[in-house]
Symmetry: D2
Subunit: 420 residues, 4 copies
């Protein structure tokens, strides 16, 4: 009973798989097998018991989710089912949260690898786009209106900077989250007597996870860091999609996607990749708010907040991954129409250089008067005409040459691409 159709944009097929019932069971089994193996190595349980657990390579998921509602814990029916298969040393001395939190960490480790690959793809495409269009001039647009020129290379570098910085923070968050969670019923590992910390080290090694200094328990700031940085990353990605969709408006036409069609209009080219990106990213901020609210967890284990986390975490990562995958593909296939960019610039008849004209006039007549003079002159004339008599011939000559009014665009572009 899949629900991929209702959620086609909130996740990709791959990210759906990463949090599927099969994946969840796999991660839970992996925890229990590693726990038993570590305990056998430390002589806490018989080796044969550990071997029996290790041999279980799947469980029937059907029914587990419903049973979980009885106890408000997926761990209970799972441990029961696994015990029925592999005997009484299953989950020895552990608690639900050890199992569930660590299983989630294992799932997130796989998800990180996918995100990482797609981010590299996106970053590479943006860098290439920026290099290729280092000199392609175009209008900046502020408040949806034309503004002084930039280069498309600088614009792409800005996108690159946004996702690159956001990725670094998200990576840091993954580093904090991807560690063993192991605390026992009260966060003290008391069921193992004095040997808790030793077992934790062994277990972490078996799972190839760092061992944390202490269990996270009801302190959820590490996961919250991850979720919020998914939020920031999604925002940076969605910003690109919005820009591209706007540039792709027929009346502007400066870029185009390989794009999608319409069920009613046979010829229509839609910014489909941007739409998927935006639809996916739109899921995230609300999820972030939900996670932050759920952080207020009672005492040593919450009544509600903790149990609310799994779907929030999965959906956040999936939606981030979906947005990322869609924009990466979009950018890879983006066509840039440099002629149209220049044509749209020219069509302003120099109006976007009004600032430049005012700056040239201002030393003579003051900034306020210069702005007023320029604004009034532009009511009914093109800039060049409007400024005749006010500027020198040489000033007039280049007054509306975009290449002459790019300021530090190239400097900034290079800095963005080269920031470590």
């Amino acid at each position: 009973m899949s629900s991929r159709m209702i959620d086609g944009f909130g996740t990709t097929a791959l990210h759906a798989e990463l949090f599927s019932d099969e994946a969840v069971i796999g991660a839970m089994l992996r925890f229990e097998a590693a726990l038993a193996d570590s305990q056998a190595r430390l002589g806490m349980i018989p080796r044969s018991a550990a071997d029996a657990i290790a041999q279980v390579d799947g469980l029937d998921a059907s029914g587990l989710a419903e049973d979980a509602r009885e106890s408000a814990s997926l761990a209970i029916p799972f441990v029961k089912a696994l015990t029925a298969r592999a005997g009484g040393y299953v989950h020895w001395g552990a608690t639900s949260q050890d199992l569930l939190d660590t299983a989630l960490v294992l799932l997130l480790r796989d998800a990180r690898a996918v995100l990482s690959r797609d981010h590299a793809r996106l970053a590479d495409s943006l860098r290439a786009l920026s290099e290729q269009h280092a000199r392609t001039v175009m209008l900046a647009r502020t408040v949806l209106q034309p503004a002084p020129p930039i280069t498309f290379g600088y614009k792409a570098a800005g996108w690159f900077g946004g996702v690159q910085r956001s990725w670094r923070r998200l990576s840091q968050a993954f580093d904090e989250v991807l560690q063993l969670q192991f605390g026992g019923a009260a966060g003290t590992l008391a069921s193992y007597g004095k040997r808790g910390p030793e077992l934790a080290v062994e277990l972490a090694r078996a799972l190839e996870l760092p061992v944390p200094s202490t269990p996270s328990h009801s302190h959820r700031d590490r996961l919250a860091f991850l979720i919020t940085q998914c939020g920031v990353y999604s925002g940076a990605v969605a910003k690109i999609a919005r820009d591209v969709a706007l540039l792709m408006q027929t009346e502007i036409g400066e870029v185009s996607e390989r794009g999608g069609g319409s069920s009613a209009m046979p010829n229509k080219r839609n910014p489909a990749g941007c739409v998927v990106t935006l639809a996916a990213a739109a899921q995230v901020p609300g999820l972030v708010a939900s996670f932050l609210f759920a952080m207020v967890q009672e005492q040593e284990r919450a009544a509600g907040g903790w149990q609310a986390e799994w779907p929030i975490v999965a959906r956040t990562v999936q939606a981030t991954g979906s947005a990322l995958a869609a924009i990466a593909t979009t950018i890879e296939g983006l066509t840039v129409n440099a002629d149209r960019m220049r044509a749209n610039l020219d069509a302003t008849h120099g109006a976007v250089f009004a600032e430049k004209a005012a700056m040239l006039l201002a030393p003579k007549i003051g900034r306020a008067d210069a702005q007023k003079l320029v604004a009034e002159a532009l009511q009914d004339k093109m800039l060049r005409e409007a400024m005749a008599g006010h500027l020198t011939a040489e000033q007039l000559q280049n007054i509306d040459r975009p290449e002459d009014y790019l300021g530090a665009a190239e400097t900034f572009r290079l800095r963005l691409l080269n920031e470590e």
Copy 2:
């Protein structure tokens, strides 16, 4: 590839089914079949074409969701697949939004029936609980501290009032949403010439839906009304769960759930139903925010906002349904410990009647002084002792009798239960 395990509390099995791939395909097929049938009846397409469409009773869902990412529309691969099966009159003159919005309405109609049944179950249990405990006195608790007495019957009636009022608004919202969406590419039904409105009436009839005066199109306030009222309803439901979980603390022990166990502590009784309720309800407010943000849809069809709706709507309804199902079952199985309620009241040694004592003293010495006197006296004495000498013998006699300090509790209880 189900993901029930990751989302075991965010939906029930039943609500998961209602938005599954099978259900979505079924609803989409139903729209196309009804459209074709209506068009055949109006002579717009051949009857044989409509029959061919009507005969398709399933489509392979696999691949549709991924294909949808190419065009940012599930309708496109769906119509293509259906056309391959049932010929060229499929989706005749319609647009993606007609199909998708109406399919969603059909899914929501089914979900409403389930919610309605569970709400009735909850309302009935709350009413019965209130009637049964009309005279069971207990502490009110304000700011998590003891306050003057109420009855458990009044408390249950308050819960009833909250969900009952919220249900009425949610019902009104369903009434607004459950109607045909049919506007064609630009919301004008132009592809049908002058016959659009006539076809809309016919199609609505075929789907047993009301025909709206106009298509909703990019104006999403009706759905927003539904989503927000799921939010309010979930909040009312979660409030009950929080109250019950708090009353069930071992140190308070005034009610108990049939409850769930623990994977580590064999004897533990957890407020499992409340936890599931709270974990489910915690999903909703963030989803509501997402929907409201997504309402800002560009022109005649949005680039992102509209496409973001499906998972938000499905999850909101599912989480509301999950919270509701869990609390209904919890309330049905609730055990009330009236002795413990009275014992907790008695254990305050009259302190919760301090207000009463102050009110009795105040006419003589003023409210401020009366409050001061009572507060100071209660520092080291029980109320009865503290007030000796200040109150008349008769006043003193009943000063800490909860039954004498219930005010309008019963009046209000009855009003809550009997509000239409």
Copy 3:
């Protein structure tokens, strides 16, 4: 110490005043005066005590807010200060929540009047705009791309429908909220013995508020209804602003605001009213989520959730009011450029009538082939040229006449304007 500058778009001056310290103190004094007066009328307190309270027409606000942090209740320092001025019968038998909830209701009543006035202004302008442009044809735009034509009158009617429906729901919510809150410490009015309900009726009359059947107490669904409908209304308003800002892009140029300037570019015309609307509306969905989370209030009075409400409620109403005021003024001053609308339509060279062409061809060659044929033909030809040989002369003649492809636009427009 005002903070209007940091929040210039989140509220108007008028809405800031409605929730200012002066307004809050005024509302709180009004409650206490009405309470005392009612009690005097019922012989519960001396008339002279009520008169003393009624004579206080202001309190020094400085310090009250800071003092409120000591007790987590603004009522406590307020009652203390008022008692110091007007004697010991202040707040007789009442509780903090009676005072604070009702004061909020009084503030909201004033805010409603302002919202109502601005909504009428907006609705009237939209209606007029729709009537005036009933025949002004323009491109629909779906997914930010050109689509078959509509009229600007229909578009404006769609905006009208969105805000009008949302206003009706918001009005209903105000009706539910604008009533007396009066329950005493435990929601039983026990401090008044049997006379609580009688006093409630008297008090409600004095405040010109409906008397509710029961106190709302810790059941916050009524306020939640109000807040969520502010959310829906803001969304409907923001949708208009986004549409207008997009239509106002220089490259599209179909409408323009009276608009604002730029600090750097002297000649620039920005969609300033739309920007203020969007900036204000962007505050609301997050606030709605906060309110819904805060609804989960413990027992008879919450520890946190209730106390979180005031700023959420005030900001939600203020931001809604700010968005509304800005869009109303924007629409009142909107200039519509019908020539540009037609020019943009013409510039598609008939491509937006591809659906029409396909519908005409489809009966002959099937929908799929027709769509394919049209799409391919439009790759390098204009529609009229592309369809030569495929359509009849008569069909060809009007194939790209927008007036011939408006479907039910006018029917729907009239329905939207005339819905009660």
Copy 4:
């Protein structure tokens, strides 16, 4: 026209001042003065012009906020007003965003200092509390039910760890945000020709801010990082408040605040500091969602998203600061009742050691059977009695001694306090 009363818990007086009109004007003046001074030093404008600007030490705020609505930019009326006072070289070559973004940074720098001081206060108190109660045993509580013992010292160390980690991330975010924003109209500093970067360095020095490699412009990830980490920090703080409020319930009574009173019940002690903390923290997650949504900013400057930021940022920081100030004071004044902690432990009659008993039995009869045996035995007997005959005399002796079942509590406590 202050609104401190409506927002008494959402901000402290100090944090209100930090974002007041006076503070905003001060920061904006400081930017303009520093800009002019830098330009004079570089010979771009006359020294006398810079001096004139530097001499303006205040502007009348009234009217600026309302005027800002005309242009959707506070910078425009501000620059106009300042130009009227200090002449035509004001804001020379700069754009609104340079002024407004940098002014915000200056405000945030001051806010950081206040947060930093309060965090130190909180961290110190938590550390002291943890040291003092390293051996105070108490119940852990999971899902609001008793669980195996911990120490209060470990619990306090857990709180410490949560806020300490969150503070480190928040500090990192402040480091990223607290830098000059300076890009000119299009982010290229073109109005300064080739000298833009040089001027940026000079300006940053004058403002004692780091100079960023490039302007942030419409890429808002740095601010988003700050806002989200306020969210995480607030969540960590609110978790403490919820724990304390629950421990302070009369029936539990393990800690108490210096606390606040009630307007109706003279003797009541409320967890007032916790309530203020929770009410403040409850504002934040919704604000975080709003910021993340607003991140999707169009092109080189957004139409709505950017202009929405100021109130979101100010309120987020203020609410975080308010929650922090309240919890710091609460923890400083916290009374711990170690006797009550032990009494509550004892009152479980050993039930919380059921896990321990089961672990002792399990090697003999298997985990599942051991758990079953213990659970059944505990139905009607106390643990010690229930286990007689099953455990050895020595095991029985200490079966319910909390000190013997603390596992790694002390190890973990020390690690939490000593993590760098």
